[in-house]
C-alpha cells in the first residue's frame, strides 16, 4: 500500500504512515482531504500550524498518457482558504513509483532554512543545503540535477518562496530539466515558510506499480492514448501552439486582459498569438522547439522552448496565461519581452499569473507606463532584491492594490484574475467568485465549453461553472491534464475503467464525478470554517460598473444565478 510521508520540520522527524482510508484518493481529492482532516481552518497559512500537502494524482506513475500530474495543497496565504495547485513535470510519477501516496510537511524549521527532502529507495531524509539559499529556481534545479543525477524529479521554491511572499509558486522539473509550476494560491510561500527549499525524488530501483488488473488497465490506457494521438488537434494545435493557440480567439471575444483588465482586446494580439509563437520558434531554430512532453509518456506534448534571436533558450514554456498576464495585461506587444519577463518570474519563483496581475495594478497606479519592458523588469528586480516595493509586489495583486491604491484590483478571494476577463466570459466570473479556489481558471474554465452558452448572457452561467468545476476537480484528483479532457468528458467510462483496473474499485461513468463533487464539498466546509463567508463570493466592484471595451459588457449576473454554482 502506498504511504503518507509525514515530515515534521520543527523536530526534523519523518514517519511513513499507512492510511487505508485514503486508498481511493489522489491528487486534489487527497490534498484537500488531508488539509480538511489535519489543518486548523483558522491557522496562519505561513505559521507552524499550517501544513503543505503534496499528492500525485491517483493514476500517476501508470502508462495512461497525461495522467501523472502532482497536486500541492494546504491553506492559501492569498485566499486564506483551502487551495490546490497541480503541475506536470516528472516528480508526480516518480513519487507514485516510490510508493508515496502523499507528503505532509508540517511544523517549521527554526535552525536551517534551506532543507531538502530526499526520497529514494533508502526512504526519506532531510539534508541541509546552504548552497541553495536565495538561489533562483533555474540554478537550484540545475545544481540538484548535477548532485543527485539528471533522472531525479525535483520540486523547489525560489527566493520569493523562501521569504514567504504570497505570490510564490512551486517549480517542478520536466524530463529535460526545464520548469513547470504548481503556481496558484501561494503554495510556494507555504513550502518556503517551512524551511523546505526543495524535494528530490529518485525512483531508481523503485519502478514498480501495483495494478489490480494490469491487462485491463493497459488495454484501456492504450485505447485512450490512441484517441488523443488521433485527434487532429493534438498535432495541428497543441503540439504547435500549446495553450497559446487561444490568444486570438480570446481577443476576438473581448476577454483578453489588456492594461490591467481595462480593455478586453488589444490591437497587437497577432504579435503575441500562438501562430506568431510557432512561427518564431520555427524560424529561429537553435534551442527553440515545440511539441515537448512535460511528463514522460505524454502524447499531447504541448510544451515549448522559446528561443532568442540567436536561438538560445529564453524560457520554457511560453503559454497562454503567461502571455495574457505578462503580455497584453501589461501592454507588452511582443513575445520576446513576454519571454524575458516570464524567465525572471520563473527564476524568482513567482506565479506568473499573480505576478502579472500585481504588475498590472502597479502600472495602473502610474508606477510606470504600460508596454515598458524596462520598468516591468525593474519591478521584478525589486522583488528579487527584496526591497520594500518588491515585498509589496511579491505578495500579489490584492496587497499591491491595497498598498499602492486604486479601485481596479482584479482579484477574487484575494487571488489575481487569470487570462479571461469575467465581464466577457461570465461563466469564468462565476468560477472566480464562487469556487473554493478563488480567481483560478483551472478550477472551472468555461472557455472551451463548446460555447453553446452565450459568454455574455445572464443565464446558464451558474450551472456551466458548477458542472465544469466538478469535472475539473475530478481530473485534478486523478492526475489528468486539462488538455486530455475531450475524450474523457465525452466518455467518462475511460476514467472509471482506469481507476477500477488500478485499484479494484467499482466506479461507473456516472459516479466517477462524485470524486470532484465530494472534494469541493469538503473544501467549501473548510473555507466556511476559515471564515470565508458569502460576502466574499464577489468580484471586485469595477467588474459590475465599468463597461468592458467595445462589447460594453459588465458583470451582471443575479445572486440567484451565482448561487447555482454552490457545491455542497
Amino acid at each position: 500500500m502506498h504511504k503518507v510521508v509525514r515530515v515534521d520540520m520543527s523536530v526534523k522527524d519523518i514517519q511513513w504512515e499507512e492510511k487505508e482510508e485514503y486508498n481511493l484518493l489522489g491528487g486534489r481529492a487527497l490534498t484537500s482531504r488531508i488539509t480538511y482532516d489535519e489543518v486548523k481552518a483558522d491557522c496562519d497559512p505561513l505559521g507552524r500550524e499550517s501544513k503543505l500537502v503534496i499528492a500525485p494524482g491517483l493514476l500517476a506513475g501508470t502508462n495512461a498518457s497525461s495522467a501523472s500530474r502532482l497536486s500541492v495543497g494546504g491553506k492559501s496565504p492569498l485566499t486564506n482558504g483551502i487551495k490546490e495547485a497541480n503541475s506536470g513535470g516528472i516528480a508526480g510519477a516518480k513519487l507514485a513509483r516510490c510508493g508515496v501516496k502523499a507528503i505532509v510537511v508540517q511544523g517549521k524549521s527554526f535552525d536551517e532554512r534551506t532543507y531538502i527532502l530526499k526520497i529514494d529507495r533508502e526512504g526519506a531524509n532531510l539534508i541541509v543545503h546552504k548552497d541553495l539559499e536565495s538561489l533562483g529556481t533555474y540554478d537550484t534545479v540545475a545544481k540538484l540535477r548535477r548532485i543527485y543525477g539528471e533522472k531525479v524529479g525535483i520540486l523547489c521554491v525560489g527566493p520569493s518562496g523562501e521569504r514567504g511572499l504570497r505570490a510564490s509558486a512551486i517549480a517542478l522539473s520536466d524530463p529535460f530539466g526545464e520548469l513547470k509550476f504548481a503556481a496558484r494560491g501561494g503554495m510556494g510561500a507555504v513550502m518556503g515558510s517551512k524551511g523546505l527549499k526543495a524535494i528530490v525524488v529518485d525512483d531508481e530501483g523503485m519502478q514498480t506499480m501495483e495494478y489490480y488488473d494490469k491487462e485491463s488497465f493497459t488495454k484501456t490506457a492504450r485505447e485512450f492514448n490512441k484517441q488523443l494521438v488521433s485527434d487532429p488537434k493534438t498535432k495541428d494545435v497543441y503540439q504547435k501552439f500549446g495553450t497559446s493557440g487561444i490568444v486570438k480567439a480570446v481577443n476576438a471575444m473581448g476577454a483578453l486582459p489588456t492594461n490591467n483588465f481595462r480593455f478586453g482586446k488589444c490591437e497587437f494580439a497577432d504579435e503575441i498569438s500562438g501562430e506568431k509563437l510557432y512561427e518564431t520558434i520555427s524560424t529561429r531554430g537553435g534551442k527553440g522547439k515545440t511539441g515537448i512532453p512535460c511528463m514522460t509518456g505524454c502524447v499531447i506534448q504541448c510544451s515549448n522552448i522559446y528561443p532568442d534571436i540567436d536561438g538560445e533558450n529564453i524560457v520554457s514554456t511560453l503559454q497562454y496565461e503567461n502571455i495574457a498576464l505578462l503580455g497584453s495585461n501589461l501592454g507588452i506587444n511582443n513575445l520576446d519581452t513576454v519571454a524575458r519577463l516570464n524567465r525572471e518570474v520563473n527564476d524568482i519563483g513567482l506565479d506568473a499569473i499573480e505576478a502579472g496581475a500585481a504588475l498590472g495594478v502597479a502600472l495602473d497606479q502610474a508606477i510606470g507606463a504600460f508596454g515598458d519592458e524596462e520598468i516591468c523588469l525593474a519591478l521584478l528586480n525589486e522583488i528579487r532584491r527584496d526591497t520594500i516595493l518588491g515585498r509589496v509586489l511579491g505578495n500579489g495583486a490584492s496587497i499591491t492594490g491595497q498598498v499602492l491604491g486604486g479601485d481596479r484590483i482584479p482579484v477574487a478571494k484575494g487571488q489575481g484574475f487569470p487570462g479571461y476577463d469575467p465581464r466577457a466570459l461570465k461563466g469564468n466570473g462565476v468560477t472566480y467568485a464562487m469556487s473554493t479556489m478563488g480567481a483560478d481558471h483551472t478550477a472551472g474554465n468555461c472557455f472551451g465549453a463548446r460555447n453553446e452558452i452565450d459568454p455574455l448572457g445572464k443565464e446558464k452561467q451558474g450551472n456551466l461553472s458548477k458542472d465544469t468545476q466538478i469535472k475539473m476537480a475530478t481530473l485534478d484528483s486523478l492526475g489528468f491534464c486539462i488538455f486530455a479532457r475531450v475524450p474523457l468528458f465525452k466518455d467518462p467510462t475511460i476514467l472509471a475503467n482506469l481507476v477500477n483496473a488500478l485499484l479494484g474499485s467499482g466506479f461507473t461513468k456516472e459516479d466517477i464525478w462524485d470524486i470532484g463533487f465530494e472534494t469541493i464539498s469538503l473544501e467549501r466546509e473548510f473555507n466556511i470554517a476559515a471564515g470565508i463567508s458569502p460576502a466574499q463570493d464577489k468580484l471586485p466592484e469595477f467588474c459590475y460598473y465599468e463597461e468592458l471595451g467595445s462589447i460594453k459588457s459588465v458583470f451582471d449576473l443575479s445572486e440567484e444565478e451565482m448561487k447555482k454554482a454552490i457545491i455542497e
Binding site: 488537434k233 497562454y320 460555447n451 467595445s550 462589447i551
Partner: protein
C-alpha cells in the same frame, strides 16, 4: 459582401484564410459554414463584428465574421 476569417486548422477546409461571400438576406452562419464545407463539430468560437454569436446568428451585408476551431484553454 460578407467577409469571413478562418483561424488555425480551419483554413485546411477551404485553403483560404479569408473568404468574401455574397449572401442571401436571411442566411444563418450555420448555413454558410455548410456551404463552404466546415464541419459543425470543428467550430468553437464565432464572432460577428467583434461580438460572440452562435451558429444560428443571421448574416447581413457588410458583416465581418471570424471562426475559431473548438479549442481548449490551458
Amino acid at each position: 459582401m460578407v467577409t469571413m476569417k478562418l483561424h488555425l486548422y480551419l483554413i485546411n477546409f477551404t485553403n483560404k484564410e479569408e473568404i468574401e461571400i455574397t449572401v442571401k438576406e436571411t442566411m444563418k452562419i450555420e448555413e454558410l459554414l455548410q456551404d463552404i464545407g466546415i464541419p459543425k463539430d470543428e467550430v468553437g468560437i464565432i464572432t460577428k463584428n467583434g461580438r460572440w454569436v452562435t451558429t444560428k446568428s443571421l448574416i447581413s451585408d457588410g458583416d465581418h465574421i471570424e471562426i475559431f476551431p473548438y479549442l481548449l484553454g490551458g
